[in-house]
Each structure stands twice: as structure tokens, then as C-alpha cells.
């Protein structure tokens, strides 16, 4: 996502108001949409974590082929109505391979969420470190790091990710690789620029100068005075990063260069879905729906987090003369 989007959508750059953790939770609790989204996300995380448990309950696993359940005469269409839904296979089976769809879905959740989270962590660490260093360092360090960040902002994500994934040998664990590639190629650079800008602003605050006058050194000032001020924009950005990373992982898997079979992935399941939609519509609808719901819930949650961190953004909806009352 580009800088301009973030410049517009990320608040807190010079919000002087105090939004302590308690106020934040209080505000978050009052937004219904965010709460619903949060519960959906929580559910997804639960499903992902307990995938082995759930599939054990069902009595299936995501990798076993069940050739008997597909009709190879008709090209691999699942036997039975609705793509083979039944007591044994709660959501039916995959065409051609007969693998259990429910199991593949819940394990796919693991992959999607896990990869996205790992990538986000990489982006956060890299972005904050580089941004802080650029903001605090002298002019040369700042110029150099900004230049590097600019290069990475210019890197076209999909293309480079594709290329990297092609080149690295398959001996390297694939999901980790995907997470690394997604994390390293995009996202962190924009975060770094944001952190840098915020650091530069915070650095100028009088209370930072006062801390220097008291005798504190740069590192301690960075830790005690600056980092708390960075929390809001960084968290907001992270909230946007996670759904983006999920989409990217799905896209890469869709193209066939993401996680390799037999590891299931929602994107992967969509690769051939257009062929099967008539005979087994759930093969298209389920992973697509799962993707949609996940990204939607995370985006709504991110929105809620953003407004909880900066209530001014919400109050702008009431614009008369543009002034909140009380100023004489």
C-alpha cells in the first residue's frame, strides 16, 4: 500500500491528546462493528490453532486421497449431492483428489494466518528499526536509510515475490519462505518512512528537549519518550498490514508459487475452482468466502483500532463549521 494512502489514513502523527491504553480499550468497546470483527478474528484464530483437534473430531485429515469418492468417469466430480457432503465429510470432498474439504479449509486457515502474521512481524521489526534509526541518526544515516526504503517501496511486490520464490530451491521450508519474502519485499519500507516522520516530529517536542537538559542520553530518550509516541501509528499500520499479507499469500498460492502441495492453502484451492463451480460449487465458494470473511473482519477491526486510537478521525464526520465546540 502506498505512502499516500497511509499519510491520509494513519492518524496520530501529531495528535497531542492522551490516549492511554485504558481509554483505547474503552473506545474500542463502544464500536459494535469492530467488536463483531474482533470476535470473527478470534474465531478464526481459534480454528487455526485447533485445526488438528477439529479434523480429529471429524475423523479426516487434509492430505489423504479418497479416489473412491470422486467419479473419474465424469472427470473427477465428487460423488453424491453437494459435492459429497455427508457425516464423514462435513463439507464434502475436493474434486479429482477426494481430499476432505473441511480439513483442508481449517489447515488452510493455519497457513493463511500463520504466514500473514509472520510476515507482519518481519515488517514491523524491520520498519520500526529502520525508521527509528533514520529519524534519530545524523544526516548521512538518514539519507542512506531513506534511499534504501525508497528502493524497496519501488519494488513491485508480486513480480519480485514471484521471482524470488522461483529461484530459491525447494529444500527451504516453503511457508517460512513465503512469509519472509512477503515481509521483506513490501510493507516495511512504508512503515519505516512513517516511523521516521513521526520520530522527527516527536524529536522536536519540548519535553524531549527537557529530557536532554536533564542529562539523559539519546538511547534512553528514544526508549522512554519516543517509543510510546510511536505506538499508535505503528499499531494502526500493523492493522492494515495483516489483511494485506493474507491477500498476498492467497494470491501467490493461487498462482502456484506459494506454499507447495500437499500443504493446503485457500488460494491454492481457488486455482482450479472455476472449472468445478457447477458440479461442486462449494469448492469455489468456501475458500473464496473464507478469504473474504477473514480479510473483511481484519479490515474492519483495523478500522476500529484506528478510530479508537484517534477519535478525532471519527468526530470529523460531524462537520458544520469544522470546529468542535467550546473554543471561544
Amino acid at each position: 500500500m502506498s505512502e499516500a494512502v497511509l499519510a491520509v489514513e494513519t492518524p496520530g502523527a501529531d495528535a497531542p491528546g492522551v490516549s492511554g491504553a485504558r481509554q483505547f480499550w474503552r473506545r474500542l468497546r463502544t464500536r459494535r462493528a469492530a467488536l463483531v470483527a474482533a470476535s470473527v478474528v478470534a474465531l478464526l484464530v481459534l480454528v487455526a490453532l485447533t485445526a488438528p483437534l477439529l479434523t480429529a473430531l471429524e475423523g479426516q485429515d487434509p492430505t489423504t486421497y479418497h479416489p473412491s469418492l470422486v467419479d473419474s468417469a465424469r472427470g473427477g466430480v465428487p460423488v453424491g449431492s453437494f459435492g459429497g457432503i455427508g457425516a464423514d465429510h462435513w463439507l464434502g470432498v475436493e474434486p479429482q483428489t477426494g481430499r476432505d474439504l473441511f480439513a483442508r479449509l481449517v489447515y488452510g486457515a493455519r497457513v493463511s494466518l500463520g504466514v500473514a502474521l509472520a510476515a507482519t512481524v518481519v515488517q514491523l521489526v524491520l520498519g520500526v528499526a529502520v525508521g527509528l534509526a533514520a529519524g534519530l541518526g545524523n544526516r548521512w544515516v538518514d539519507q542512506l536509510l531513506t534511499r534504501v526504503a525508497d528502493i524497496f517501496v519501488a519494488m513491485p511486490l508480486m513480480i519480485v515475490a514471484l521471482a524470488l520464490l522461483a529461484v530459491v530451491p525447494t529444500s527451504f521450508p516453503r511457508p517460512v519462505l513465503v512469509a519472509l519474502v512477503v515481509g521483506l519485499v513490501s510493507g516495511w519500507a512504508t512503515l519505516a518512512k512513517l516511523v521516521r516522520a513521526q520520530t522527527l516530529t516527536l524529536k522536536e517536542a519540548d519535553y524531549v528537549a527537557a529530557a536532554r537538559l536533564s542529562g539523559w542520553g539519546t538511547l534512553r530518550i528514544a526508549r522512554r519518550e519516543l517509543l510510546p509516541g510511536l505506538a499508535a501509528p505503528v499499531i494502526t499500520f500493523a492493522a492494515i498490514l495483516v489483511p494485506t499479507n493474507i491477500s498476498v499469500e492467497a494470491a501467490l498460492s493461487f498462482l502456484g508459487v506459494g506454499v507447495r502441495p500437499p500443504t493446503p492453502s485457500w488460494g491454492q484451492m481457488l486455482t482450479s475452482a472455476n472449472v468445478w463451480y457447477q458440479a461442486a460449487p462449494q469448492y469455489l465458494l468456501l475458500p473464496a468466502g473464507a478469504l473474504f470473511v477473514t480479510v473483511l473482519a481484519l479490515t474492519v477491526l483495523g478500522d476500529g483500532v484506528r478510530t479508537a486510537l484517534d477519535p478525532r478521525a471519527a468526530s470529523r464526520l460531524r462537520v458544520g463549521t469544522g470546529r468542535k465546540g467550546g473554543r471561544s
Binding site: 536533564s214 458544520g320 463549521t321 465546540g325 471561544s328
Partner: protein
């Protein structure tokens, strides 16, 4: 200002001294412009502005409570009050700007015969800008940064007339020229950020003039400007009123500004009217205690500094729950407890004496020097873009004395301050401390900052902020730290029990006190105060200034007081240095510099300070006019 200017089509447009030709007002009847600016006679159509029982509520908070006044055509009224008094809210209400914001407006407001509360959208739109025009406080943010200034004025003009684009642009050039912007044709194509502060404010006034309104509402029009530019703007307003016969409603916290420009004054406090009368009455012989208090707290540039030590003790006042108990006789004065955040002022805190921040001891200049600046230079940027902020400044601060450094924006005084404390390294020259050259920060030289909002970390309690210097020194014993913090809080007039409250729970004045406490925690010998009271109300200003004087006397501190407000600087300083464009143009004992300035710039500065006496103000204005004719002022 020229008498004729070519409009965009090339044909000359002549303006007469009596103002522009007769125009029709919103009601359709012709309005003849009045050329006199003294109190106009009420004509048959009624007063220009009639307000009765005005109340404005913002979600349960009452900002304006039962205000009423009248403004006749061609007359000028000032709404004077401190922050929170509701004056800006009243101004906005006159144009119906609260509609649609969720504020509840009660009472009646009539502007030029239009009932603002009940008017339809169309009528209201025609009123805004057509009949009554508002000039806002911050000209940089009040103009659209993306469009040229001339285009913005033209847009407003076309809203109220059916003029063509070309005619509108011509009108824009015309009014820009009228307000004294040189090279108006070219300037009308520039964007706001390319103008200086004073010129931007003129452009805003030009926009207000474009549709020939009957009433000009100016909301703190000069607060963001230097004192010399402020004088020019006020003169401009005066001249325009003379030429067009416009009425003026001026909203300001600065009593001096009011004295210069209006005939009547209405003092407001907490949304209510405190006093209302002619300028000479209210400012010369105020009847209400609050008015007297307000006037008493205004620092005067011509009053000699009182060195008595006694008055300082009275100025220390209680913190927190405003306990100032005023014998509240008379209309509309609130007795006693103000809101919790505002510190009450005890009656008699220096309200009768001209100034009260006497700092007696050590002002004879014989103390040994604690801080010296020797040939300080500071350059920003490189090569062609190099900018010299401070150009060879040398000064000395002695123990127990206050050195005032006064200058307008861009004079380099803030940069100088930062170099004195070691936050900024000079590009040449050195800072000496007790005779030794010092590089970098030193806890013995501390600073009090200007902005009460950004000088304290909003995420830490005030107690923690004050304790910071102690911890930095290595102090680990929590009990000792806590005890010292409580001691300091009380020393600056706050309650020790509030040490774990957060900055946003305090008022501006109280936050400045916390800042002073923090500076004291480092046991400094010198405190550099960078505009410590500029962001405060005038009554709070007086208190903080008094506190500083007291502390200086008790602890033998040396103070460097940096400010742009000449009157405040005079109040506190033993010696004064006047800065201009990075250099010190004049230096010496305060009385000498103020009463017998040597440098013409100092004289210019002093002449620009608004006087509290309307007659003095009128005299100064003519003096400025004469000077301007001799030497056109650089905007």
C-alpha cells in the same frame, strides 16, 4: 496605497477617498456609506447588530450565557475576554456558523435586520460575506493553500454578485491593492504560503472587503503577528472604516488592541458579560472587580518597574480549585469558584500597582557573571540556502539578575536561547559558564519552554516529569525523590497531592508551573525562559511572572527572559537586549532602553505597542502615519 489601479482588462479604476459607490445591500435598498467612524446615528432601519439573551451550548457545556448588546452602523465594538470567555463563539454566532454543528443557540441575533437564528439557508448565505464578513485569526490556515489568493477572493465575490470571472478577478486585484499589498496584480496569482504573515492577514481583510459588507467581524486578527505588523493591520482597519463607514466587531484578548481600534468595549468572562461601556469608561474607570483585575494584570511598557519585594508574596496564589473569592457585586460577575482547572486569583494581586513583578535583589549588575555568550553565530542550511539566524551575539548574565531578550519573529532569539542552554551548537563563538567554556547541556543551565502543551510528556504524570532531572542525576531513593517532588510542587504554587495527575488535567498556567518545577529540580543556577508566558491569559501571565520573580529572589537565580512582548519583558528584566535579524541592536538597563531608546528599531518597536489609553493610541497612530510616509514600512 495608490489611488488608481488598472484592473485586469487594462482600464483604470478610480477610487474616491469617500469609499466606493453606492451599493445595494441584501434587502435590496441602497445603503449610503458613512464616512465618519465615530458612533453613528441609528438610522430608521435599526441597529446594525442586535443581540438579545444569546446562549450557546455545546453538548451541555454553556459557552455563552445570556449576552446582549447593540452595535450601530459604522460603530466599533470590542469583545474582550480571556480564553474560555466565549467571545469567539459569539462572533461565530453572528453569522450563524454554529448551524449544523450540534451546538444549541438560544436568544435572538439580528444582523442588518436579518434574524440569524430563523433565517433560511439562502438568506444566511447572502448575509455571510455580503452583509457581514469575518476575518479569522490564523491567516495561513484560513486560506485555501491550493488556490491563488486572487482566485479565492474572486470566488467569494462571485457568490454574492453575478459578476463574470474577469470582473471578479479585477475586483480581487482592486481590494488587494486597497489593503496595501504591493504589486497586487502579480500577487493575486500567488498562493497563500508565498505571502508573509502580515500580508496574508491583509489578504484576508481584502477578501472581507470584496463584497462591501456593512459589518466586519475580526476574530483575534493580530494575535499571530509581530507587534509592528500588528500596528499596521490595526491602522489599516481604522483607515478602511474611515473610508467605507463599516461597522467593526473586534474579538480580542488583548486590551491594548481594543483600546486602539474601537469605541465601545464589552468585557466577557465565562460566557457572561462583565462590563460594557465606551472605551474611555471601561479602560479608564472600570467598575467591575474582574475588569479591574484584568486591566491590572496587563503589563505596561511605559510603567517603570517596581523593585519592591513585598508585592511578590501576595502574587503567589492557590492552585487547583479556584479559590479566588471576589466580592461579586454588580452584574454578571461570577463569585468565587471557577472551574477546577483554572487557578483562582486572590483579589488585590497587584491590581492597583502598575506592575508587580519586582525582583529586587541583585539587580544592580554587580553579581558575578554566571553565563556568557561570546560572539555566538548560528547558520542553518548550506550554500545558497544558508540562513544566519544568530549573527555575532555577545551578552552576559549575572547572578541574581534577569536579562530580558526581546525581538520579533525571525530575530533569532529562540535560536539564541537554545544555544545558551546547549541544545544547539553554535557554528562559531562559545558559551561560557562561570568562566569556563561549555559545550553541550549542563544541568546548571535549565530552560522553561513556551508551549504548555508540548513541554510536558502527555503520557507521564507531572510528578514523574518533575522527578526526571533527579533521576538523571542518579538519585535512586524513591522516598527522597517523592519528597523533593512534593516540595517543588508546593514551591511553584501547586498542590503536592496532585503529583500523579497527568498534564491534560491541568490548565496552561499550571502546566507552566510544572515546567518551572522541573527546571528547578536540577538545582540550576541559570534558567533560560523561552516565551514562558506567551501562550497564557493575561491574568495567568501576571501570576507566572510573579512566581519567577519570587523564585529568583529566594534562590539567587539568574534568569534569561526571552519574549516578543515588550511590556512583559519590561516588567521582569533588570537589563534588556533588543534583537533584530540575529543581532543585538541595543543593550542596557531596562529603564534606559525603554525610556531612552538609542536605536531607531527599538523606537519603532516601542511605538507599535498598543496603548491602553485611546487618546494616546490616536496620537501614536498619527505618529506612525507620519513615519510611514517618510519611510514606507516593509511588510
Amino acid at each position: 496605497m495608490s489611488d488608481a489601479v488598472k484592473n485586469a482588462a487594462g482600464s483604470p479604476v478610480v477610487k474616491n477617498a469617500a469609499g466606493s459607490p453606492v451599493v445595494k445591500n441584501a434587502a435590496g435598498s441602497p445603503v449610503v456609506k458613512n464616512t465618519a467612524h465615530d458612533l453613528a446615528v441609528k438610522d430608521a432601519a435599526g441597529s446594525l447588530v442586535e443581540v438579545d439573551g444569546l446562549t450557546v451550548d455545546f453538548g451541555g457545556l454553556r459557552a455563552v450565557d445570556g449576552l446582549g448588546f447593540r452595535l450601530e452602523r459604522g460603530a466599533a465594538l470590542a469583545l474582550v475576554g480571556e480564553s474560555g470567555s466565549g467571545k469567539s463563539t459569539v462572533a461565530s454566532a453572528l453569522l450563524g456558523l454554529h448551524r449544523g454543528t450540534g451546538a444549541e443557540v438560544g436568544g435572538t441575533i439580528e444582523v442588518a435586520g436579518v434574524d440569524v437564528g430563523r433565517a433560511s439557508e439562502d438568506v444566511l448565505r447572502r448575509l455571510r460575506g455580503g452583509t457581514a464578513a469575518m476575518v479569522f485569526q490564523d491567516p495561513l490556515s484560513s486560506l485555501d493553500p491550493y488556490y491563488a489568493v486572487g482566485d479565492q477572493i474572486a470566488e467569494v465575490y462571485r457568490v454574492h454578485t453575478r459578476a463574470s470571472r474577469r470582473a471578479a478577478r479585477a475586483r480581487a486585484v482592486e481590494v488587494l491593492d486597497r489593503v496595501g499589498i504591493p504589486d497586487a496584480v502579480r500577487r493575486s496569482r500567488s498562493r497563500p504560503h508565498e505571502f508573509s504573515g502580515g500580508m496574508r492577514q491583509r489578504a484576508l481583510i481584502a477578501m472581507a472587503l470584496a463584497c462591501e459588507p456593512e459589518l466586519l467581524i475580526a476574530d483575534e486578527p493580530t494575535t499571530a503577528l509581530d507587534v509592528t505588523v500588528q500596528a499596521q493591520i490595526l491602522d489599516l482597519l481604522h483607515t478602511l472604516r474611515e473610508e467605507t463607514g463599516m461597522g467593526l466587531l473586534l474579538v480580542t484578548h488583548d486590551v491594548g488592541v481594543a483600546a486602539e481600534s474601537v469605541d465601545e468595549v464589552l468585557v466577557m468572562r465565562h460566557g457572561r458579560q462583565v462590563e460594557h461601556g465606551s472605551v474611555t469608561e471601561v479602560l479608564g474607570a472600570p467598575r467591575q472587580p474582574y475588569t479591574r483585575e484584568l486591566l491590572g494584570a496587563v503589563p505596561r511598557v511605559d510603567a517603570p518597574r517596581v523593585t519592591g519585594a513585598g508585592s511578590g508574596a501576595e502574587a503567589g496564589e492557590k492552585s487547583g480549585a479556584g479559590s479566588g473569592a471576589e466580592a461579586g457585586a454588580g452584574s454578571g460577575v461570577e463569585a468565587g469558584a471557577g472551574s477546577g482547572a483554572e487557578s483562582g486569583v486572590q483579589a488585590g494581586a497587584g491590581s492597583d500597582t502598575g506592575s508587580d513583578a519586582g525582583s529586587g535583589a541583585g539587580s544592580d549588575g554587580s553579581g558575578e557573571p554566571v553565563l556568557e555568550a561570546v560572539g555566538l553565530h548560528r547558520v542553518f542550511g548550506r550554500g545558497k540556502k544558508a540562513f544566519t539566524a544568530v549573527d555575532g551575539v555577545s551578552l552576559t548574565v549575572r547572578r541574581g539578575e534577569t536579562l530580558g531578550v526581546v525581538g520579533e519573529s525571525g530575530s533569532g532569539k529562540t535560536t539564541l536561547g537554545r544555544m545558551l542552554v546547549g541544545l544547539l551548537e553554535p557554528t562559531a563563538g562559545e558559551v561560557r559558564h562561570d568562566g569556563h567554556t561549555r559545550v553541550g547541556v549542563d544541568p546548571a543551565v535549565q530552560m522553561v519552554f513556551q508551549d504548555p502543551v508540548s513541554s510536558l510528556n502527555p503520557r507521564r504524570s507531572v510528578g514523574e516529569s518533575i522527578a526526571d532531572p533527579l533521576r538523571a542525576r542518579g538519585e535512586r531513593d524513591e522516598t527522597r525523590i517523592r519528597a523533593r517532588v512534593r516540595e517543588l510542587l508546593e514551591r511553584v504554587g501547586l498542590e503536592a497531592a496532585h503529583h500523579d495527575r497527568y498534564p491534560h488535567e491541568f490548565s496552561g498556567g499550571q502546566r507552566q508551573r510544572v515546567g518551572i518545577a522541573r527546571a528547578l529540580a536540577a538545582d540550576p543556577r541559570v534558567i533560560v525562559c523561552d516565551e514562558p508566558v506567551s501562550a497564557l491569559d493575561v491574568t495567568t501571565q501576571a501570576q507566572v511572572v510573579a512566581l519567577l520573580a519570587e523564585l529568583q529572589r529566594e534562590l539567587g537565580l539568574a534568569l534569561v527572559f526571552i519574549a516578543h512582548d515588550l511590556a512583559v519583558v519590561r516588567q521582569v528584566s533588570d537589563r534588556v537586549a533588543v534583537m533584530r535579524r540575529g543581532r543585538i541592536v541595543e543593550q542596557g538597563p531596562a529603564d534606559q532602553v525603554y525610556d531612552h531608546p538609542q536605536d531607531p528599531y527599538t523606537g519603532q518597536l516601542l511605538a507599535a505597542v498598543p496603548a491602553l489609553d485611546p487618546e494616546v493610541a490616536a496620537r501614536r497612530r498619527s505618529a506612525r502615519r507620519r513615519a510611514a510616509r517618510r519611510e514606507p514600512a516593509t511588510i
